[in-house]
Symmetry: C2
Subunit: 163 residues, 2 copies
DNA sequence: GCAAGAATGTTATCTTATATCAAACTATAC
DNA sequence: GTATAGTTTGATATAAGATAACATTCTTGC
Protein backbone atom coordinates (compact mmCIF):
# COMPACT_ATOMS: atom_id res chain seq x y z
CA UNK A 1 0.00 0.00 0.00
CA UNK A 2 1.46 3.36 -1.01
CA UNK A 3 2.01 5.83 1.77
CA UNK A 4 -0.15 8.41 0.10
CA UNK A 5 -3.42 6.99 -0.97
CA UNK A 6 -6.53 8.62 -2.31
CA UNK A 7 -9.27 6.80 -0.50
CA UNK A 8 -12.10 8.33 -2.44
CA UNK A 9 -13.20 11.37 -4.38
CA UNK A 10 -12.61 13.15 -7.68
CA UNK A 11 -14.03 10.12 -9.46
CA UNK A 12 -14.71 10.56 -13.14
CA UNK A 13 -18.14 11.96 -13.81
CA UNK A 14 -19.09 8.68 -15.47
CA UNK A 15 -18.05 6.32 -12.69
CA UNK A 16 -20.73 3.90 -11.58
CA UNK A 17 -21.85 5.54 -8.39
CA UNK A 18 -24.23 2.70 -7.71
CA UNK A 19 -21.15 0.61 -7.05
CA UNK A 20 -19.82 3.18 -4.59
CA UNK A 21 -23.09 3.10 -2.69
CA UNK A 22 -23.36 -0.68 -2.75
CA UNK A 23 -19.80 -1.04 -1.48
CA UNK A 24 -20.37 1.53 1.22
CA UNK A 25 -23.54 -0.17 2.41
CA UNK A 26 -21.87 -3.55 2.51
CA UNK A 27 -18.97 -2.15 4.50
CA UNK A 28 -21.30 -0.33 6.85
CA UNK A 29 -23.21 -3.50 7.63
CA UNK A 30 -19.97 -5.35 8.23
CA UNK A 31 -18.58 -2.64 10.53
CA UNK A 32 -21.77 -2.49 12.57
CA UNK A 33 -21.97 -6.23 12.93
CA UNK A 34 -18.34 -6.34 13.99
CA UNK A 35 -19.04 -3.70 16.62
CA UNK A 36 -22.19 -5.41 17.80
CA UNK A 37 -24.29 -2.42 16.82
CA UNK A 38 -27.45 -2.09 14.82
CA UNK A 39 -27.57 -0.59 11.34
CA UNK A 40 -31.21 0.35 11.73
CA UNK A 41 -33.41 1.52 8.83
CA UNK A 42 -33.14 5.12 9.95
CA UNK A 43 -29.36 5.00 10.19
CA UNK A 44 -29.25 3.26 6.86
CA UNK A 45 -31.40 5.92 5.24
CA UNK A 46 -29.22 8.73 6.56
CA UNK A 47 -26.16 6.84 5.42
CA UNK A 48 -27.59 6.40 1.92
CA UNK A 49 -28.48 10.08 1.74
CA UNK A 50 -24.91 10.93 2.64
CA UNK A 51 -23.66 8.63 -0.08
CA UNK A 52 -25.93 10.10 -2.72
CA UNK A 53 -22.83 11.94 -3.96
CA UNK A 54 -19.18 12.46 -3.12
CA UNK A 55 -20.07 15.84 -1.73
CA UNK A 56 -20.57 16.78 1.89
CA UNK A 57 -24.15 17.17 3.07
CA UNK A 58 -25.47 19.49 5.76
CA UNK A 59 -27.49 18.14 8.65
CA UNK A 60 -30.54 20.22 7.85
CA UNK A 61 -30.39 19.18 4.21
CA UNK A 62 -30.43 15.59 5.36
CA UNK A 63 -33.37 16.49 7.51
CA UNK A 64 -35.19 17.94 4.52
CA UNK A 65 -34.47 14.80 2.49
CA UNK A 66 -35.66 12.65 5.35
CA UNK A 67 -38.87 14.62 5.46
CA UNK A 68 -39.75 13.21 2.03
CA UNK A 69 -40.07 9.71 3.41
CA UNK A 70 -40.62 10.21 7.12
CA UNK A 71 -43.30 12.08 8.99
CA UNK A 72 -41.98 15.41 10.21
CA UNK A 73 -38.55 14.33 11.45
CA UNK A 74 -36.88 16.63 13.96
CA UNK A 75 -33.22 17.68 14.19
CA UNK A 76 -32.27 15.16 16.86
CA UNK A 77 -33.30 12.39 14.52
CA UNK A 78 -30.63 13.25 12.01
CA UNK A 79 -28.02 14.34 14.53
CA UNK A 80 -28.39 11.08 16.41
CA UNK A 81 -27.90 9.09 13.25
CA UNK A 82 -24.88 11.20 12.34
CA UNK A 83 -23.41 10.74 15.81
CA UNK A 84 -23.84 7.01 15.56
CA UNK A 85 -22.28 6.86 12.11
CA UNK A 86 -19.34 9.01 13.20
CA UNK A 87 -18.78 6.85 16.28
CA UNK A 88 -18.73 3.82 14.06
CA UNK A 89 -16.22 5.51 11.77
CA UNK A 90 -18.61 5.42 8.83
CA UNK A 91 -18.92 9.15 8.44
CA UNK A 92 -16.66 12.16 8.82
CA UNK A 93 -17.65 15.65 9.81
CA UNK A 94 -16.02 18.45 7.85
CA UNK A 95 -15.57 21.13 10.47
CA UNK A 96 -14.82 23.90 8.03
CA UNK A 97 -18.17 23.34 6.31
CA UNK A 98 -20.36 22.05 9.13
CA UNK A 99 -21.19 19.18 6.83
CA UNK A 100 -20.89 15.43 6.75
CA UNK A 101 -19.59 12.90 4.27
CA UNK A 102 -19.37 9.12 4.06
CA UNK A 103 -15.99 7.65 4.88
CA UNK A 104 -14.19 5.96 2.00
CA UNK A 105 -12.45 3.37 4.13
CA UNK A 106 -14.37 2.71 7.31
CA UNK A 107 -12.58 -0.51 8.11
CA UNK A 108 -9.41 1.20 9.27
CA UNK A 109 -9.48 3.75 12.07
CA UNK A 110 -8.33 7.17 10.87
CA UNK A 111 -9.25 10.82 10.95
CA UNK A 112 -9.06 11.53 7.26
CA UNK A 113 -7.49 14.33 5.30
CA UNK A 114 -9.79 16.14 2.96
CA UNK A 115 -9.40 18.16 -0.22
CA UNK A 116 -12.56 20.16 -0.75
CA UNK A 117 -13.38 21.84 -4.05
CA UNK A 118 -14.77 25.32 -3.39
CA UNK A 119 -16.35 25.40 -6.79
CA UNK A 120 -18.19 22.09 -7.26
CA UNK A 121 -18.15 20.87 -3.66
CA UNK A 122 -16.59 17.51 -4.40
CA UNK A 123 -14.38 16.15 -1.66
CA UNK A 124 -11.44 13.77 -1.88
CA UNK A 125 -10.43 11.83 1.19
CA UNK A 126 -6.73 11.08 1.47
CA UNK A 127 -4.70 9.14 3.94
CA UNK A 128 -1.09 10.16 3.94
CA UNK A 129 0.79 8.29 6.60
CA UNK A 130 3.78 10.56 6.13
CA UNK A 131 1.68 13.61 6.92
CA UNK A 132 0.27 12.03 10.03
CA UNK A 133 3.66 11.00 11.31
CA UNK A 134 5.05 14.46 10.64
CA UNK A 135 2.29 15.84 12.84
CA UNK A 136 3.12 13.29 15.51
CA UNK A 137 6.74 14.35 15.37
CA UNK A 138 5.82 17.99 15.79
CA UNK A 139 3.55 17.11 18.67
CA UNK A 140 6.25 15.12 20.39
CA UNK A 141 8.64 18.05 20.19
CA UNK A 142 6.35 20.14 22.33
CA UNK A 143 5.20 17.29 24.53
CA UNK A 144 1.73 17.18 23.05
CA UNK A 145 -0.31 13.98 22.95
CA UNK A 146 -2.44 13.81 19.80
CA UNK A 147 -5.98 12.52 20.05
CA UNK A 148 -7.66 13.92 17.00
CA UNK A 149 -6.75 15.50 13.69
CA UNK A 150 -8.77 17.92 11.62
CA UNK A 151 -7.14 18.39 8.24
CA UNK A 152 -9.25 20.10 5.62
CA UNK A 153 -7.76 21.67 2.53
CA UNK A 154 -9.96 23.78 0.34
CA UNK A 155 -9.26 24.88 -3.20
CA UNK A 156 -10.11 23.82 -6.73
CA UNK A 157 -10.31 20.33 -8.16
CA UNK A 158 -8.80 19.61 -11.53
CA UNK A 159 -12.12 19.96 -13.34
CA UNK A 160 -12.88 23.32 -11.82
CA UNK A 161 -9.52 24.78 -12.83
CA UNK A 162 -10.33 24.34 -16.52
CA UNK A 163 -10.56 27.68 -18.37
CA UNK B 1 14.74 29.88 10.90
CA UNK B 2 14.03 26.22 11.64
CA UNK B 3 11.52 24.52 9.41
CA UNK B 4 9.33 23.62 12.33
CA UNK B 5 8.67 26.57 14.52
CA UNK B 6 6.36 27.03 17.43
CA UNK B 7 4.95 30.46 16.82
CA UNK B 8 3.17 30.72 20.12
CA UNK B 9 1.47 28.78 22.87
CA UNK B 10 2.28 26.42 25.73
CA UNK B 11 4.15 29.26 27.41
CA UNK B 12 5.18 28.68 30.99
CA UNK B 13 2.50 29.63 33.44
CA UNK B 14 4.74 32.40 34.75
CA UNK B 15 5.58 34.04 31.44
CA UNK B 16 4.93 37.76 31.30
CA UNK B 17 1.74 37.81 29.38
CA UNK B 18 1.71 41.58 29.40
CA UNK B 19 4.64 41.34 27.01
CA UNK B 20 2.67 39.03 24.72
CA UNK B 21 -0.19 41.49 24.60
CA UNK B 22 2.05 44.51 24.11
CA UNK B 23 3.87 42.79 21.26
CA UNK B 24 0.64 41.71 19.67
CA UNK B 25 -0.81 45.21 19.83
CA UNK B 26 2.31 46.74 18.36
CA UNK B 27 2.29 44.23 15.51
CA UNK B 28 -1.41 44.76 14.92
CA UNK B 29 -0.97 48.51 14.59
CA UNK B 30 1.91 47.97 12.22
CA UNK B 31 -0.01 45.50 10.05
CA UNK B 32 -3.04 47.77 9.84
CA UNK B 33 -0.96 50.80 8.95
CA UNK B 34 0.84 48.80 6.29
CA UNK B 35 -2.50 47.74 4.82
CA UNK B 36 -3.92 51.24 5.01
CA UNK B 37 -6.65 50.11 7.39
CA UNK B 38 -7.87 51.46 10.68
CA UNK B 39 -7.23 49.74 13.98
CA UNK B 40 -10.26 51.37 15.57
CA UNK B 41 -10.98 51.32 19.32
CA UNK B 42 -13.62 48.64 18.85
CA UNK B 43 -11.32 46.40 16.82
CA UNK B 44 -8.59 47.02 19.34
CA UNK B 45 -10.84 46.07 22.22
CA UNK B 46 -11.88 42.84 20.56
CA UNK B 47 -8.26 42.13 19.75
CA UNK B 48 -7.22 42.69 23.36
CA UNK B 49 -10.00 40.44 24.61
CA UNK B 50 -8.75 37.72 22.27
CA UNK B 51 -5.25 38.17 23.63
CA UNK B 52 -6.33 38.00 27.25
CA UNK B 53 -5.00 34.42 27.17
CA UNK B 54 -3.46 31.89 24.81
CA UNK B 55 -6.80 30.16 24.64
CA UNK B 56 -9.40 30.44 21.92
CA UNK B 57 -12.41 32.62 22.67
CA UNK B 58 -15.96 32.20 21.40
CA UNK B 59 -17.71 35.03 19.62
CA UNK B 60 -20.53 35.23 22.13
CA UNK B 61 -18.07 35.24 25.00
CA UNK B 62 -16.37 38.20 23.39
CA UNK B 63 -19.78 39.76 23.09
CA UNK B 64 -20.41 39.24 26.80
CA UNK B 65 -17.04 40.79 27.64
CA UNK B 66 -17.76 43.69 25.34
CA UNK B 67 -21.05 44.24 27.13
CA UNK B 68 -19.09 45.19 30.25
CA UNK B 69 -17.72 48.30 28.58
CA UNK B 70 -20.12 48.97 25.73
CA UNK B 71 -23.84 49.60 25.71
CA UNK B 72 -25.70 46.49 24.63
CA UNK B 73 -23.48 45.36 21.76
CA UNK B 74 -25.08 43.03 19.23
CA UNK B 75 -23.58 40.00 17.48
CA UNK B 76 -22.67 41.84 14.26
CA UNK B 77 -20.45 44.13 16.29
CA UNK B 78 -18.17 41.34 17.33
CA UNK B 79 -18.44 39.35 14.11
CA UNK B 80 -17.48 42.39 12.08
CA UNK B 81 -14.45 43.01 14.21
CA UNK B 82 -13.48 39.33 13.95
CA UNK B 83 -13.91 39.42 10.18
CA UNK B 84 -11.72 42.45 9.93
CA UNK B 85 -9.02 40.95 12.13
CA UNK B 86 -9.08 37.70 10.19
CA UNK B 87 -8.83 39.54 6.88
CA UNK B 88 -5.83 41.39 8.22
CA UNK B 89 -4.26 38.10 9.30
CA UNK B 90 -4.31 39.11 12.96
CA UNK B 91 -6.67 36.41 14.12
CA UNK B 92 -7.37 32.79 13.26
CA UNK B 93 -10.63 30.96 13.51
CA UNK B 94 -10.46 27.46 14.93
CA UNK B 95 -13.11 25.62 12.95
CA UNK B 96 -13.23 22.61 15.20
CA UNK B 97 -14.12 24.81 18.19
CA UNK B 98 -16.02 27.67 16.59
CA UNK B 99 -13.63 29.94 18.40
CA UNK B 100 -11.05 32.58 17.64
CA UNK B 101 -7.48 33.21 18.70
CA UNK B 102 -4.88 35.88 18.09
CA UNK B 103 -2.22 35.03 15.53
CA UNK B 104 1.30 34.66 16.86
CA UNK B 105 3.00 35.91 13.74
CA UNK B 106 0.73 38.23 11.79
CA UNK B 107 3.49 39.69 9.66
CA UNK B 108 3.81 36.64 7.47
CA UNK B 109 0.85 35.27 5.54
CA UNK B 110 -0.05 31.73 6.65
CA UNK B 111 -2.94 29.55 7.66
CA UNK B 112 -1.54 28.21 10.88
CA UNK B 113 -1.38 24.74 12.34
CA UNK B 114 -2.85 24.36 15.77
CA UNK B 115 -2.38 22.03 18.71
CA UNK B 116 -5.34 22.38 21.02
CA UNK B 117 -5.35 21.02 24.56
CA UNK B 118 -8.69 19.39 25.27
CA UNK B 119 -8.13 19.70 28.99
CA UNK B 120 -6.95 23.25 29.65
CA UNK B 121 -7.85 24.82 26.30
CA UNK B 122 -4.43 26.25 25.59
CA UNK B 123 -3.50 26.39 21.93
CA UNK B 124 -0.08 26.31 20.30
CA UNK B 125 0.30 27.72 16.83
CA UNK B 126 2.93 26.02 14.69
CA UNK B 127 4.21 26.66 11.26
CA UNK B 128 5.82 23.63 9.73
CA UNK B 129 6.90 24.35 6.21
CA UNK B 130 7.54 20.68 5.61
CA UNK B 131 3.96 19.82 6.48
CA UNK B 132 2.60 22.48 4.17
CA UNK B 133 4.75 21.36 1.28
CA UNK B 134 3.75 17.75 1.84
CA UNK B 135 0.14 18.84 1.49
CA UNK B 136 0.99 20.73 -1.68
CA UNK B 137 2.65 17.64 -3.06
CA UNK B 138 -0.41 15.53 -2.31
CA UNK B 139 -2.63 18.14 -3.91
CA UNK B 140 -0.51 18.26 -7.03
CA UNK B 141 -0.79 14.51 -7.41
CA UNK B 142 -4.53 14.75 -7.81
CA UNK B 143 -4.49 18.02 -9.70
CA UNK B 144 -5.87 20.01 -6.81
CA UNK B 145 -5.09 23.70 -6.34
CA UNK B 146 -4.80 24.60 -2.66
CA UNK B 147 -6.30 27.85 -1.44
CA UNK B 148 -6.77 27.30 2.24
CA UNK B 149 -5.64 24.92 4.96
CA UNK B 150 -7.42 23.99 8.14
CA UNK B 151 -5.12 22.00 10.39
CA UNK B 152 -6.27 21.54 13.96
CA UNK B 153 -4.87 18.85 16.20
CA UNK B 154 -6.52 18.22 19.51
CA UNK B 155 -5.10 16.30 22.42
CA UNK B 156 -3.30 16.98 25.67
CA UNK B 157 -0.56 19.48 26.36
CA UNK B 158 2.42 18.43 28.44
CA UNK B 159 1.00 19.94 31.64
CA UNK B 160 -2.31 18.16 31.30
CA UNK B 161 -0.68 14.75 30.84
CA UNK B 162 0.87 14.92 34.33
CA UNK B 163 -0.52 12.25 36.67
C1' DG C 1 -18.95 72.97 5.97
C1' DC C 2 -20.07 69.24 2.64
C1' DA C 3 -20.12 64.94 0.32
C1' DA C 4 -18.52 60.14 -0.05
C1' DG C 5 -17.06 56.27 2.04
C1' DA C 6 -16.11 53.58 6.19
C1' DA C 7 -17.47 51.98 10.56
C1' DT C 8 -20.82 51.07 13.94
C1' DG C 9 -25.65 50.56 15.78
C1' DT C 10 -30.07 48.10 15.58
C1' DT C 11 -33.45 44.74 14.64
C1' DA C 12 -34.63 40.65 12.87
C1' DT C 13 -33.68 36.27 11.21
C1' DC C 14 -31.17 32.24 9.78
C1' DT C 15 -28.23 28.16 10.60
C1' DT C 16 -26.37 24.62 13.47
C1' DA C 17 -26.78 21.73 17.43
C1' DT C 18 -28.36 19.97 22.02
C1' DA C 19 -31.29 19.02 26.30
C1' DT C 20 -35.09 16.65 28.04
C1' DC C 21 -38.66 13.63 28.53
C1' DA C 22 -42.00 10.28 26.35
C1' DA C 23 -43.08 6.40 23.45
C1' DA C 24 -41.83 2.45 20.78
C1' DC C 25 -38.99 -1.19 19.77
C1' DT C 26 -35.53 -5.21 20.69
C1' DA C 27 -33.28 -8.67 22.97
C1' DT C 28 -32.71 -11.69 26.81
C1' DA C 29 -34.31 -14.20 30.92
C1' DC C 30 -37.58 -16.53 33.03
C1' DG D 1 -45.11 -15.94 25.78
C1' DT D 2 -44.45 -12.41 29.01
C1' DA D 3 -41.65 -9.51 31.89
C1' DT D 4 -38.17 -6.37 31.85
C1' DA D 5 -34.03 -3.87 30.94
C1' DG D 6 -31.76 -1.56 27.47
C1' DT D 7 -31.77 0.78 23.11
C1' DT D 8 -33.75 3.52 19.64
C1' DT D 9 -36.83 6.90 18.00
C1' DG D 10 -40.35 10.67 18.58
C1' DA D 11 -41.48 15.26 20.10
C1' DT D 12 -40.93 19.78 22.09
C1' DA D 13 -38.21 23.33 23.39
C1' DT D 14 -34.14 25.92 23.48
C1' DA D 15 -29.18 26.89 23.11
C1' DA D 16 -25.30 28.38 20.31
C1' DG D 17 -23.27 30.36 16.21
C1' DA D 18 -23.68 33.55 12.41
C1' DT D 19 -25.65 36.83 8.89
C1' DA D 20 -28.99 40.11 6.33
C1' DA D 21 -30.67 44.57 5.88
C1' DC D 22 -31.07 49.12 6.87
C1' DA D 23 -30.18 53.31 9.91
C1' DT D 24 -26.92 56.25 12.05
C1' DT D 25 -22.53 58.07 13.13
C1' DC D 26 -17.83 58.93 12.26
C1' DT D 27 -13.74 60.07 9.15
C1' DT D 28 -11.52 61.90 5.43
C1' DG D 29 -10.66 64.73 1.52
C1' DC D 30 -12.30 68.56 -0.71
ZN1 LIG E 1 -12.44 8.08 6.17
ZN1 LIG F 1 -14.51 21.18 -8.48
ZN1 LIG G 1 -0.98 32.73 12.70
ZN1 LIG H 1 -3.54 21.40 28.78
Amino acid sequence: MPDNMVIQGFESAEHDHGDCVADALREAERVCTERGERFTPLRRTVFELLWSSHKPVKAYDLLAQLALTHDRPAPPTVYRALDFLQEAGLVHKLESLNAYIGCGEPGRRHQGQFMICEECGVVAELDDETLTSRIDTNARKIGFKVNDETIEISGLCRQCQQP
